[in-house]
Symmetry: C2
Subunit: 700 residues, 2 copies
């Protein structure tokens, strides 16, 4: 065995000179150097990807002491499915019974005075997740001497949504162009496809929608199906299934049919044939994601049909292949308070969708704002599976320039109590299959991935990709746990101040962008900077900030109480009563649900105006504190990533001042009240800020 040991040492030596440019994500191996003597040998199903991946991970950790063996010796490691003869002898299969294909067991076994570790699962995919789990324990320096871990995922489907266009751009993508090189596929296979698959698998993501929900019909041509097949081939070993977004009018566009009416037999037939053609090429194809009758896209309502008609037609075509149909509830035809529209449009269809349909619902009722209350559809549809759609890409949170760790925001939604089935009916429980029956429970995250060297533009945006996967696997994980794991894996240090920076970063961003329930006061289209004064002639009212802030000399906020738009009534008691009363409505959402006078007395004792100013200032001060924290940790971080994050923090710091000044100075024209004298004064002129026009739409 000596020769293998030496070989590993040699490879490790080469690996360690790699630059720290963020390209290896959290899979870079770490520098903890506590791997010496970890395992005396590994054995098991060497043909399994789990085995390979674990071995690869250890190599990255510069392990020079590992040997491979066919015997489980003292301090040895055995990685194998329950079909493996050694595992069978240990009788571990019972621990995994009924837990599904993705579950695994990691266990320390004591036999004849000797200890060894076993990773096992009934299926290769479970084994893969188990291998990554153990690797993570090793790489984060956790005790592994006495393990007994059984895990299965919270959601069956843990899926990324790429908003990647076929021309290579990414809608709301801030890490460069798309990683999918459609023009080169299927001939050229980027090495990034496999790296992407590994990264996703390592955090439990098991599916991906390759293209934008604003979908082009072209994706369903035979040419593109062969490209999709090539990607699927790369992802399959890592247990990642491929899905596609489809354009509802595709039968008309590609099939030469007069329309795409779901009641037209030729249309239904067209879809069945198309689906069969896809499955012929990609037998494990996942299914479709559909954005229909939303923001100008075609859908069944174009023909007087309903969401049910449209979704069930597609579900019918997918059914024979066990395919899933994800139908988005992001719809807001004008006519009422926008926050109410998705609920109004879907609630009456409860129980009417085919069983392979799942409704994909954004976490909040508007659109991925810095902070929203959860969408009232969660829990309201008791006979229809719903899947939360989270946004990993920071469309409304500073793109890839701002350090904003999103786990606390997602946890706030997942842990929010809908009261749909009484107290404790959290958004997580009404979507993960616990309280509402679902064939496949699912959660989606809009990806923040691009072709940038570091994948996500901002090194810390990698943490959001990581956190989405980890929470999709286990929504009970705390934001702290995830941050600690990620920091340790990515920077070799989860120093308390770095932890603190990550954990308070979302609250800081809300403070300097839109505190107290303010929402959608962004600049037109690019959603990066502030533009509460925005006016675009002819624009839909609900595409303009003043629709949301309603600022006047009388006050500010959106009255969604029973005497206002009555959006509160879409929530269960006691939430609706709590939200309806400004005295009990949480400060975080007070201007979401209430229009209040500037001198309204807040729970803090401050006037609403003062509280608003204070929060903006607090946001600015916090970003400055993040800068200090980062700089203090310079010695812990490699120079390139240190410098790149430092630069981003400078931008964030300036942007926070920009936001604060823009919002305070603009609303001051209504409040006519002085900025509280204890806080730092604006340094910008309102008129100068109004002139800022950024040229950024799809990606930067």
């Amino acid at each position: 065995m000596k020769s293998i040991v030496l070989l590993i040492g040699l490879i490790a030596g080469i690996v360690t000179v790699k630059a720290e440019d963020g390209s290896e994500l959290w899979l870079r191996g770490n520098q903890l150097n506590q791997t010496a003597g970890l395992f005396s040998s590994i054995s098991g199903d060497k043909h399994q990807i789990a085995f390979e991946e674990f071995q690869q991970g250890l190599i990255k950790m510069n392990s020079r002491e590992l040997a491979f063996s066919n015997n489980v010796a003292d301090k040895g490691l055995l990685i194998a499915t329950t079909k493996n003869a050694q595992i069978k002898k240990l009788g571990l299969a019972k621990d995994l019974k009924g837990l599904g294909r993705e579950a695994y067991l990691i266990k320390t076994i004591s036999q004849r005075g000797k200890k060894f570790t076993v990773v096992t699962a009934t299926k290769p995919e479970g084994l893969l997740y188990g291998a990554y789990h153990l690797l993570r324990l090793v790489q984060t320096g956790q005790a592994i001497g006495n393990l007994n871990i059984v895990e299965k995922p919270s959601y069956d489907l843990r899926i990324l949504n790429h908003w990647d266009n076929l021309d290579g751009t990414v809608e709301r993508g801030y890490a460069g162009y798309s990683i999918w090189k459609w023009d080169e596929l299927p001939a050229v296979i980027s090495p990034r496809y496999k790296e992407y698959a590994r990264a996703n698998a390592s955090v439990g993501i098991n599916a991906t929608v390759l293209n934008n929900v604003n979908a082009s019909p072209e994706i369903l041509t035979q040419e593109y199906i062969s490209k999709v097949k090539a990607i699927a081939t790369q992802l399959r070993p890592f247990n990642i299934r491929v899905f596609l977004s489809i354009n509802f009018s595709t039968p008309r566009v590609l099939g030469n049919l007069p329309d795409a009416d779901p009641s037209r037999p030729e249309v239904r037939e067209w879809w069945k044939k198309k689906v069969a053609a896809i499955y012929k090429e990609i037998p494990d194809f996942g299914g479709f994601l559909v954005k229909a009758n939303s923001e100008g896209l075609p859908g069944p309502m174009d023909y007087g049909r309903t969401h049910v008609d449209g979704a069930n037609m597609l579900a019918e075509a997918l059914k024979p292949f066990n395919g899933l149909l994800m139908w988005r509830a992001f719809v807001y035809e004008p006519g009422d308070d926008r926050a109410k529209l998705a609920y109004k449009e879907f609630i009456d269809f409860d129980g009417m969708f085919a069983d392979n349909v799942i409704i994909q619902v954004k976490n909040g009722p508007i659109d991925f704002q810095p902070r929203e209350p959860f969408s009232p559809l969660f829990g309201a549809m008791k006979h229809t599976p719903l899947m939360p759609e989270l946004q990993i890409t920071q469309e409304y949170l500073g793109h890839s320039n701002h350090l904003v760790y999103l786990s606390p925001m997602w946890k706030e939604v997942l842990d929010a109590d809908t009261y749909a089935f009484g107290k404790g009916s959290t958004v997580a429980k009404v979507t993960d299959g616990s309280l509402i029956t679902t064939r496949v429970s699912a959660i989606a995250g809009v990806a923040n991935i691009g072709e940038d060297t570091n994948w996500t533009g901002h090194h810390f945006a990698q943490a959001n990709w990581y956190a989405f996967g980890r929470l999709a696997w286990n929504h009970q994980l705390s934001s702290e746990t995830i941050a600690r794991e990620w920091l340790t894996l990515t920077f070799d240090s989860a120093a308390p101040d770095l932890m603190d920076m990550m954990l308070t970063s979302h609250a800081a961003a809300v403070d300097y962008m839109m505190p107290l329930g303010l929402h959608h006061i962004f600049a037109w289209n690019h959603h990066y900077g502030p533009e509460p004064w925005c006016d675009v002639p002819g624009a839909r009212p609900d595409w303009l900030p003043r629709y949301y802030h309603n600022a006047s000399e009388k006050g500010i906020g959106f009255d969604r109480t029973t005497t206002g738009s009555n959006a509160v009534s879409q929530y269960y008691s006691p939430l609706k009563e709590q939200f309806n009363d400004p005295e009990t409505c949480p400060d975080e959402f007070i201007l979401w649900f209430h229009h209040l006078p500037w001198d309204y007395s807040m729970k803090s004792g401050k006037s609403l105006w003062d509280e608003l100013c204070y929060r903006y200032d607090r946001g600015v001060q916090q970003v400055r504190e993040f800068q200090k924290i980062w700089d203090r940790n310079e010695s812990l971080v490699d120079p390139q990533r240190f410098r790149e994050v430092q630069s981003k923090l400078k931008i964030q710091s300036k942007d926070a001042m920009w936001w604060k000044d823009a919002i305070i100075l603009y609303f001051q024209t209504y409040s006519k009240m002085p900025v509280p004298y204890s806080i730092e004064r604006p340094v910008h002129e309102l008129e100068e800020l109004k002139l800022i026009k950024l040229d950024m739409i799809h990606h930067n």
Copy 2:
């Protein structure tokens, strides 16, 4: 008398609706409203401008209770020269004996149980200053019930230097174009000429050089002399004499002479005739100011002659008319440490100048830097009158964008001890005639005046014009006293925080621009922003910042010790020894005199690098504090001026961050040391700051 009282009330009513745009400077009258019953009547030399001016001042104060009388009644006021019969009866002339034409007496007289106030002087000009003094006491709300004030000026000549060009631009002017409308003169007389004269007279300024020291020969054409005459006519009633800057080569240019060699008889003759021609038009013409052989301008050295040759030739021409010749010592022919050059070039001429020559010396040895030690020429020339040249315009202190009250800087210089005649030989005393005999003692200030509505661009820059006049009149006044007067007159409030803002503003600017004796690390030419990295191919070394900062990995600063350039030796003991040793050299000048390693241990215990960073940060924080102070005082200030100052403070705040980041990030490339972690982090990138190129040269 009733009718006159009513008339005054009417005028006052009209006056008070005037907008507060700063156009009235400190002469706007105030809103203290304590004038009721101040004086029961006024009488005296009604034909005197002093009488008119006092009356005008009171009218502005909305006094409705003032009557005019020919008798000094109880609580009455008498304004008259000592020739006045009533004054003669009081026998007050003896109090003014030997004090000169500009001295005055203000005295409360008790007679037969009644009290009245007298303002008197031997000459009209003294009476004018006395009237302004009493008016200031009234307008600043000081007690006037028991006065006994005798004043005479510290300097005989209190002169402004306009760096105004004949094309209407102003070199280093930041308040718009010149107030002198040469193209309209002499036909059109701007009302501003008289307002200018009043403003100057009210603070004791009694002379002005109308044109730039970088002078055009054209100013001495007959055409221009008639224009100058028209201005002189406007200024004369306010005891302000007119001077001109001349170009040394004028005889060659205008007189068709082969050169301007001072040893050429035709040249001497030309000057005599020219001077006579001027005095024919302007009998009280003051004389010439000359910048010769400096920064490319012509001078006697072009012909192998000396400063003495050049100055004495001109002095000879002026002598018959009692004219004065001011010869500038701002010369720095390359060859040695620039800080030493003026001293080296002039010291040997001590005692050789004609008695109507005075040498005009900038306060510091380089060029109006944010802070300089005093010029070693002060006190060194014991047999030659020297006049300090101060810069009121903020060429190196943020132009008209930064609030920087200059009195503390000027006081620092005037009160600095040269030790030339033993301890106590301050710069003030070696220039005001106390220690060195001078026919006319003088002090000059480079004006910050332009055609802007508020005269000086920044409302608070008016305070520097005001302070120059007040210090020129009385260099013993404290900066506090002057600030209190000016604030009260200008904003009706000398609130403690406003006082504090003014009094600490120069120190703050030094902190965020050039602390610890750093100097001339400005951007090329415009001297507004930072450019320590500046490199202009072919430029004189001493026009580039690195000449001054000498930063390298080894340290920073200019070694002017005995083992360096030995500039310290130009100072008297004990200063030279004190400056020579970094342990005793004041922190304020440590990098002026020393090149020190980055880790040099400062008096504070901090390393030099940390101390530098700390001071920059302190400067930024202080400007932010100024913003708070100003905003807190909003209710005390009229809206227009409040808003305009607020805007300027925003610019200053951003500029301070710019300065701090530029200098710290640039020098960090040498120090390789971290910015101390307790201070706010940079928000700019060095490379981005290096790209800033401002298009500003003469005025903005």
